[in-house]
C-alpha cells in the first residue's frame, strides 16, 4: 500500500461501502428469516430491533430451540425442506465434478492439439449456449421421459453438466492457453506421453483455473431453475424450485422462504471456501525467464 494517510483512508472507506452494498441484501434476507410474521412487513423495516424467532427454521428444517438446546425433528409439514437442500448439494457437486472433468480434457485438447476444424470448434461449443434454454425445455422433457431420467439425480446431474460445459470448456481453454507450449514441449523431449504431460505437468498448473471453473459451475447448478423445475416431479427437487412452493394460494410464506434462502447460502459458501485456496494467480510463476 502506498499513498498518504487520507488516500488510504478513502480507499478503505470505499472498500467497505462496496462490501456493505453487496452484503445488505443478504443481511436483510437473513433477518427476515428470523422475524415473526408481522415484523416482516413493518414500515419502516425493522433492521435490527426485532424479536428474533427460530420458528421459520423449525418449519423448514425441523430444527427447534427447546430448553434442552437444539433438537432436530425431521419430517412432516409441507414446508419441510431439509432433503431438498441435500438434493441440491448432490446435484450441484456431481454436475460440477462431471462438467469440470469433461471440460478440462476437452479444453486441453482444444488448446494443444491440431485437428480439422479446431478453430471453429470453440464457436460451435459456445453456440449451444446462444439458444435460450427455455427453447429446449420441452424437447428435453420428452427426451428425458423416454430415457427414464425424469426426477432422477442422474438426469439433473447430466443436464446441469451439459449446460455448464460450453462455458467451462472456454474458460479452461483460456487457462491452458496461458501455459506456454514450451513447457509441454520440454516434457515431450523429456520423453513423457501426452497423458503424462497432462496429468503431471499441465493439470497441477491449471489448478487455479479448475477451481475458478468449478465455482462457476457449482453456483450455476445451485441456482438453476428452469430445468430443475421441468425435469423433476416429486422425488428430486432443488432449492430454487422448492422456494417457489412457499408461494401458496393463501399467501406467501416469506419467513420460511427467507429461512431456506438464507440457509442455502451456506453450502455454496462452504464449497467456495474449500476451492478458493486454489484460486491463486500467477500459474506459471517461475517457469519462465522473467
Amino acid at each position: 500500500m502506498n499513498g498518504s494517510f487520507s488516500t488510504r483512508m478513502l480507499r478503505t472507506i470505499a472498500a467497505w461501502v462496496v462490501v456493505a452494498v453487496f452484503f445488505f441484501p443478504i443481511y436483510y434476507w437473513t433477518s427476515v428469516a428470523f422475524k415473526h410474521g408481522n415484523d416482516i412487513f413493518n414500515r419502516p423495516p425493522k433492521l435490527i430491533a426485532f424479536t428474533p424467532t427460530f420458528d421459520n427454521f423449525q418449519k423448514v428444517f425441523g430444527i427447534s430451540l427447546g430448553s434442552g438446546g437444539i433438537t432436530v425433528t425431521p419430517g412432516g409439514g409441507n414446508f419441510y425442506m431439509a432433503p431438498r437442500v441435500w438434493d441440491s448439494i448432490v446435484i450441484a457437486t456431481l454436475s460440477t465434478v462431471l462438467a469440470v472433468a469433461i471440460a478440462t480434457l476437452a479444453a486441453y485438447a482444444l488448446s494443444r492439439m491440431n485437428f480439422r476444424g479446431r478453430h471453429s470448434f470453440v464457436g460451435w461449443v459456445l453456440s449451444t449456449r446462444m439458444m435460450p434454454p427455455v427453447a429446449v425445455a420441452v424437447p428435453m422433457f420428452f427426451i428425458y421421459k423416454n430415457f427414464g431420467l425424469i426426477d432422477t439425480y442422474t438426469g439433473m446431474v447430466l443436464i446441469h453438466a451439459l449446460m455448464n460445459l460450453p462455458l467451462a470448456v472456454l474458460l479452461m481453454k483460456s487457462f491452458f492457453d496461458d501455459i506456454p507450449s514450451e513447457i509441454d514441449e520440454s516434457a515431450i523431449v523429456d520423453g513423457a506421453s501426452r497423458f503424462m504431460i497432462f496429468r503431471r505437468i499441465v493439470l497441477p498448473m491449471a489448478k487455479g483455473g479448475i477451481a475458478a471453473t468449478a465455482v462457476l459451475c457449482f453456483i450455476f447448478s445451485w441456482t438453476e431453475f428452469l430445468f430443475a423445475l421441468t425435469l423433476t416431479t416429486t422425488s428430486v427437487k432443488t432449492v430454487p424450485v422448492v422456494s417457489s412452493t412457499f408461494v401458496t394460494s393463501i399467501g406467501t410464506a416469506w419467513g420460511n422462504m427467507a429461512a431456506l434462502g438464507a440457509a442455502s447460502i451456506i453450502p455454496a459458501f462452504i464449497f467456495i471456501l474449500l476451492v478458493q485456496k486454489h484460486l491463486v494467480r500467477g500459474l506459471t510463476m517461475g517457469s519462465l525467464k522473467q
Partner: protein, 355 residues
C-alpha cells in the same frame, strides 16, 4: 555421442517459406553456434532438430540415422528452451529428474544423477526449492541440469543466456563452455549475440533470412567474411564500409573513392574498374601521420582500455578503435592508415568477397 547432418533442409509454415536449402554437418563433440539476427530461423532449425517442428523438405540425420519422422523422445537429444520452460509445480530436484522418472529409472539412480548434475551446476542447496524461488541464473542452470542428466547425444540450446544481466551472461558463457569440455556432448547453441558466438563456438553457422551465409571457425568468420553481410554482422563495433572502385595507379591496384586512395596487394582478384565496397574493421585502423585516410574527429568514446573514435571521412561515417593514450578531441583532423592485409573488398553488386 553423435554427429548431426542437415541435407537441403527447407521449412514452410503454411505457404510461407522460412528456410531454404540449409545444408551443413556437425562433427561429434563439436560445439556449433547458430548465429543470426532475430527471425532468421535459428529457433525453427533447432526445433526441427528436436522434432518439435516437422521438416518440410530435406533430410535430417542424427548419428547415421535419418530422424525426420522420429519422435522427439527417440532422437536422443536434450533441449534447453529460450524461456527455460521449467515445470513450475515441481521442485528443482523433480524438474531435473523428470526425464529419468519418465524413463522409469530406479529412484536411487535418479537421486545419484540429479545430485551429480546439481553438484556441477552449483544447485545442490536449491534442490528443494520451486522454480519461482530461484533467480534467473539459477533457473537457467536448472534448465541445463535437466538436459545434462539425460545422457543425450546432442544438446540443443536456444538463446539460454539472453535474459541474464551482462555479468552473469559472461559467467555462464564460461560455465557452459567448460561443461561442454567436460561432458563432450555434441552441442548446437543458438544465439543472436555475436560475442557469445565468437567466444563459445568451435564452428559458427551464420544465418540470415532462412539461409546460411557462412560456416567457419570464429577466426575464419572474423578474418575472412565471405560477404558484406557477414562482415557487418560479426565484430563490434561494426566494420566500416566505403563504396568505390578498383583502379590501377602507378602499376599496382588501388581502392579509390572520393578523397580516399588505398594501395591493395598485387594478387588482388578484382579487375580494374570493378565497383567494390571496401570494409575495414575499426580495430584495423591506426593513427599515423602518413595515413591515406584523412578525416575529422566527431566524437571520442572511452570504453576502458580503448577509445572509439567516430569520424567523418570524405562524406562517410567511420569508427576507429585506438589505444586510450591516442585519444583525439572532437574537431581534430586525423590521418589513419589501414593495417597491412586488413582490407576486405566486396563486389558492389553481389556483396560477395573479392579479396
Amino acid at each position: 555421442m553423435a554427429t548431426v547432418e542437415y541435407r537441403n533442409i527447407a521449412k514452410n509454415f503454411g505457404h510461407v517459406e522460412v528456410m531454404k536449402d540449409v545444408s551443413f554437418g556437425i562433427a561429434d563433440r563439436e560445439f556449433v553456434v547458430l548465429l543470426g539476427p532475430s527471425g532468421c530461423g535459428k529457433t525453427t532449425l533447432l526445433r526441427m532438430t528436436a522434432g518439435l517442428e516437422s521438416v518440410t523438405n530435406g533430410d535430417l540425420l542424427i548419428g547415421d540415422r535419418r530422424v525426420n519422422d522420429v519422435h522427439p523422445r527417440d532422437r536422443d537429444i536434450a533441449m534447453v528452451f529460450q524461456n527455460y520452460a521449467l515445470y513450475p509445480t515441481m521442485k528443482v530436484f523433480d524438474n531435473i529428474g523428470f526425464s529419468l522418472e519418465v524413463a522409469k529409472v530406479p529412484k536411487a539412480e535418479i537421486r545419484k544423477k540429479v545430485e551429480w548434475a546439481a553438484e556441477i551446476l552449483n544447485l545442490t542447496p536449491y534442490l528443494g526449492r520451486y522454480p519461482k524461488e530461484l533467480s534467473g541464473g539459477q533457473r537457467q542452470r536448472v534448465a541445463m541440469g535437466r538436459a545434462m542428466v539425460r545422457n543425450a547425444a546432442v544438446f540443443l540450446f536456444d538463446e539460454p543466456l539472453s535474459n541474464l544481466d551482462a555479468k552473469l551472461r559472461t559467467h555462464m558463457r564460461v560455465e557452459i563452455r567448460q561443461l561442454h569440455n567436460r561432458l563432450g556432448t555434441t552441442t548446437i547453441y543458438v544465439t543472436h549475440d555475436q560475442i557469445e558466438a565468437m567466444t563459445m563456438a568451435d564452428k559458427i553457422v551464420l544465418m540470415h533470412a532462412g539461409r546460411i551465409m557462412q560456416i567457419g571457425t570464429p577466426d575464419e568468420v572474423y578474418e575472412r567474411p565471405n560477404s558484406k553481410y557477414v562482415a557487418d554482422f560479426i565484430g563490434s563495433p561494426s566494420m566500416n564500409f566505403i563504396a568505390g572502385a578498383v583502379e590501377t595507379a602507378g602499376g599496382s591496384p588501388h581502392f579509390v573513392a572520393e578523397g580516399v586512395s588505398i594501395g591493395l596487394s598485387p594478387e588482388i582478384k578484382a579487375k580494374p574498374g570493378q565497383k567494390v565496397i571496401m570494409g575495414v574493421r575499426p580495430h584495423d585502423l591506426g593513427i599515423s601521420d602518413a595515413g591515406e585516410i584523412k578525416g575529422e574527429v566527431v566524437l571520442s568514446e572511452t570504453t576502458g582500455a580503448d577509445v572509439q573514435i567516430h569520424l567523418r571521412v570524405a562524406g562517410y561515417d567511420a569508427v576507429a578503435v585506438v589505444p586510450r593514450d591516442e585519444r583525439r578531441n572532437a574537431g581534430a583532423a586525423i590521418n589513419l592508415s589501414v593495417l597491412p592485409g586488413k582490407v576486405h573488398l566486396f563486389d558492389a553488386a553481389t556483396e560477395l568477397r573479392v579479396a
